[in-house]
Amino acid sequence: MNSESFWSIFINASLVNNFVLAYFLGICPFLGVSGKMETASKMGGAVTFVMLISSICAYGIHVFLVAINAPFLQLISYIVVIASTVQLVEMFIKKMSPSLFRALGIFLPLITTNCAILGLALFQTNKGYSFLQSIVYALGAGAGFTLALILIAGFREQLEFAEVPKVTKGTVLTLMIAGILSLAFMGFSGLAT
């Protein structure tokens, strides 16, 4: 039984141990979608939503697997649930807002292979969070992911007009900024209770 407070879980997941900048989860969309602020925030929103649903399902699956004593099926069941959730979200967005669907393009199905979502499910199981704690954890992780994405997008948009050496354009520059951001975020460690 994990006795962490909700506030501590949220701060921990979003700032102190940011999923992208501290755990290196979600790098693929991070490098791919972070070019424009608008797509970044929409991607962040979609990921947070998928995280929330996956977190709830992962909790249920874990309880079930423990009951039938089949812990080895954990990975497969998590990934199947995540893949299905993303499919559903994709169909939902397609119906609700076709423009958003077109904007996100290929990145929506890529959320399935987004380590951040599977990582979330695995971490919350390892930490033994209760149902409510898991939800707070998912919200915190999604918020942190969105924050990191938006920050990098902001930087990259600004850097479009700067003169950088040609070899560094693109991925190299993004990684360097990410490194500095990661160091900056370590300053949040004082918030840890």
Binding site: N2, S3, E4, S8, V16, N17, F72, L73, I76, N126, K127, S189, A192
Partner: protein, 228 residues
């Protein structure tokens, strides 16, 4: 006539497609399930043996002078020898002559980065903690991981006072981490300046754990002794 024939052919094709899809998914799921269960059952004995060995090594470290160990489970009121699926376990260490040297207790709690799992050794005669070992940690390398390596920090745990009140119900002074260099009492842990959160976490983990376990162990000590 012809359109309906084409429609018929198309209908057969789709149902054949559906059958193929179903066959593929079921077949692959069955194959995958089989492989996983095979590996799980195959590696289980060795994994359990490795874990037991690692645990025993840790117990030897936190209770010096131990040569054999025994696991006891707490069932709510007293201790009995632990069965296979027991929870709430402590480990008793005996020397060559069968004398009870100490009790090793597992405890865990939130550190800076993730959960820290520790094992500490308790000497019921002296009412001290006599050993400390970090089982699992993901603290920041170079900073938080000093709790494992810093000699001065580790020296805190050779005689950490966890005395009980006369009625054996409560710890008189709860274990707590204090700022580095300000340790004045035997129940305090001198912290590490560069790793405040991690060292404070250790203090909290031991403090909470001892509150629960020390009274239980001291009261039921006779059940755990071997040759008396």
């Amino acid at each position: 006539m012809e359109p309906s024939k084409m429609e018929q052919e198309q209908a057969i094709l789709t149902s054949r497609d559906n059958f193929k899809m179903l066959r593929a998914m079921v077949g692959i799921s069955a194959l995958c399930g089989f492989l996983i269960v095979l590996t799980y059952e195959g590696t289980l004995p060795r994994v359990e043996r490795l874990r037991a060995e690692a645990l025993e090594k840790a117990i030897f470290r936190v209770i010096p002078g131990t040569s054999t160990t025994e696991a006891f489970a707490f069932d709510g009121s007293t201790f009995t020898k632990a069965g296979d699926n027991a929870t709430d376990i402590v480990y008793v260490g005996y020397d060559d002559l069968g004398n009870l040297k100490g009790v090793a207790i597992e405890a865990s709690g939130q550190g800076y980065a993730d959960i820290i799992k520790i094992l500490y050794g308790y000497n019921p005669e002296k009412q001290h903690i006599i050993g400390f070992y970090v089982l699992e940690t993901k603290e920041t390398p170079g900073l938080g991981d000093k709790i494992e390596k810093d000699k001065d920090f580790l020296a805190n745990f050779s005689a950490l006072d966890v005395s009980l009140s006369d009625d054996l119900e409560k710890i008189v002074n709860k274990v707590v981490t204090v700022k580095q260099g300000t340790k004045q009492n035997p129940w305090e842990i001198d912290g590490i300046t560069g790793a405040t959160i991690s060292s404070r976490a250790i203090g909290n983990i031991i403090g909470e754990s001892t509150l629960t376990w020390i009274p239980r162990i001291k009261k039921n000590l006779e059940k755990m002794k071997r040759n008396e």
